[in-house]
Subunit: 363 residues, 2 copies
């Protein structure tokens, strides 16, 4: 099989920065037989990425058709400008998680941005670095492409080719739309989760024994890398501050309602705030982009290796497609709960069938 | 087999209020052969709970040894007082999610609380009601018991018997310790998650297409019932307001650092805030109460019924115990990721074994 036949990209692809994103793009394209050139300011990272098979070292006669800049947000504009100058025939695309700051910075220094397109693959993880890279990182993920009114069609097409070749779905947005969107669905949740987790720093040990999945989920992303997030938040500061100001107003209003609970209107204001939150979370799309409520069944399992295997084998036998699932353990317990999310119409029969096979359904 | 032999409780148990908690306690005790008497202000709920097998209707000659009050927080003290008067020989225990307010209220009206013990099983769910009840709801969960310096040993022992008979683990705390603990690990996370989700009410549709597991997890509990939460927050208002005031200070400090990012010290303050959040989340206990970091492997799966079954069967074959797992789907994708959490020492061999069996490891 000639893998190259299905590629949209042709010619050399140069990747500057071999962290999680850069190395993953390299692995994906190299696996498709594309000639990938790697560059990085850190020689040991570069060697590691080459060893991983993400591409080869640069040569003096390189002539890339596209350059991917995958460096931290605060140096993105510098590197984009340098690459545009070094490879004037190439399209230069960056993958930074903010889009307005690099573009503004390029324009301020008078760089011709005709061949530049900002982009952002929504494929980060809590763990970064070359060592976490994967050829499959972008498969099925959205990848924002920020065209400009002046971006030529051939330039945009080449970026779309890159996105499609690594398996992602291109979504067109303006830099403003993008930065506002990630502010809402990524940057502010990060801040809020971190500040909620900060309250746990002085929690008594006894309180921590009562922890359930609620606070655990609400603070999960607070485990992310502070240094990277200072850069991301800093590069989208206007948007994040604007949303945080609104968030602060909401929390202050709720706190005041709670402080003066017996004043007229306080309970109603509190209920309305919480109802608004419920309406907000209901807007998040479910699997396959469909905004629908799944039904769940909770099965009890013993804490032994064979249990999950048997449960999933039997669910497979029953021909039921799991939409989502979650395992919950209580501290100190030798028993766990598996919450199975399925289409509402499948609940009754799945519950009956599992009970018939001897599983204990918790609720 | 005579089930009664293993019971700690003896005599009749009366349960007032047949919502999720009351009906679940009834189901659990009735299944052990205990004579459970049910009462509820709503006759249709009461009939449903009896039909479910959670207990029987009251009779004029009932003589319960313990009465469980499982009614909403704002009527808990009223019902406790009435039950203490009606059954002076019985121990009366409530299961409300706040503990100081009911006790203060009882003392204010001069009720003799010798036979009363406040308690709180940490076993709620987003869904409530008789219909969600389960005999297994409390198995392995912590159950806070708030003894008083004047509580006689035999009274406390009877409450512990109840907790142990339904499979939970009693944890002794004072009402103040309890309310502070649930304020931190349940009530404030609920408020913060709701107010974060509230920001999504006016998010553009395009932004929602970029949603990943981060914001989804951070806002999951915002789907809870607003009316119940008004009561819970109202009954623990002092504690929640106190923690929210600190939270507001933290978020305001971070917002100001972000607003004046180029001022001396701003970036350092921002990094320190985020690092504190990371330290907070690291304090949450893992499975089995152990505070350790698990290692994870991400496996790609096709979106077909047989895939999960095969994956878990093979993990079972390999004798590896999964500590936790999570399924992640991208909107519109026919492919998903299963993140397997295992002990760090099991990662390398599991990764190799799964790859050898043809699974694609994403990172």
């Amino acid at each position: 099989v000639n893998k190259k036949k299905t590629n949209r990209l042709d010619g050399q692809v140069r990747i500057v920065g071999v962290g999680l994103l850069g190395a993953s793009i390299g692995l994906s394209l190299a696996a498709r037989g594309i000639d990938v050139i790697l560059a990085d300011a850190a020689p040991n990272h570069l060697r590691l990425a080459v060893d991983y098979g993400a591409g080869r070292l640069a040569r003096s006669d390189d002539a890339p058709t596209i350059v991917v800049v995958a460096v931290p947000p605060d140096v993105t504009a510098d590197v984009v400008a340098a690459e545009l100058a070094a490879f004037p025939a190439a399209v230069v695309v960056d993958v930074a998680s903010v889009k307005k700051a690099p573009l503004d910075s390029l324009r301020k220094r008078g760089v011709d941005t005709t061949n530049y397109v900002g982009s952002h693959p929504l494929a980060g993880r809590e763990r970064g670095g070359t060592i976490s890279a994967s050829a499959e990182l972008f498969v099925g993920r959205p990848w924002v492409v920020c065209r400009d009114e002046r971006t030529p069609a051939w330039v945009l097409a080449r970026v779309d080719d890159l996105v499609l070749d690594v398996g992602a779905s291109p979504i067109e947005m303006t830099p403003d739309e993008h930065d506002r969107a990630v502010g809402l669905i990524s940057h502010v949740p990060q801040v809020v989760s971190s500040m909620l987790a900060r309250r746990l720093t002085d929690a008594p040990e006894a309180a921590l024994r009562l922890v359930g999945s609620g606070v655990r989920d609400a603070t999960r992303i607070a485990a992310s890398e502070p240094e990277l997030w200072v850069q991301i938040l800093g590069a989208n500061a206007d948007v994040v501050v604007d949303i945080l100001d609104r968030f602060l107003l909401d929390v202050r209003e709720l706190t005041e309602a709670l402080r003066t609970l017996d004043a007229p209107g306080s309970r109603r204001a509190l209920a309305q705030s919480l109802a608004d939150g419920r309406a907000g979370v209901a807007r998040l799309p479910g699997k396959h982009g469909v905004d629908r409520r799944l039904a769940t069944i909770v099965v009890m399992i013993d804490d032994t290796p064979g249990q999950l295997a048997r449960l999933f084998a039997e669910i497979g036998d029953l021909g039921v497609n799991l939409e989502d699932l979650r395992i919950e353990h209580s501290p100190g317990a030798q028993i766990g709960f598996v919450e199975l999310a399925v289409l509402p119409e499948a609940v009754a029969s799945l519950s009956d069938d599992l009970t018939a096979r001897g599983w204990r359904i918790a609720l």
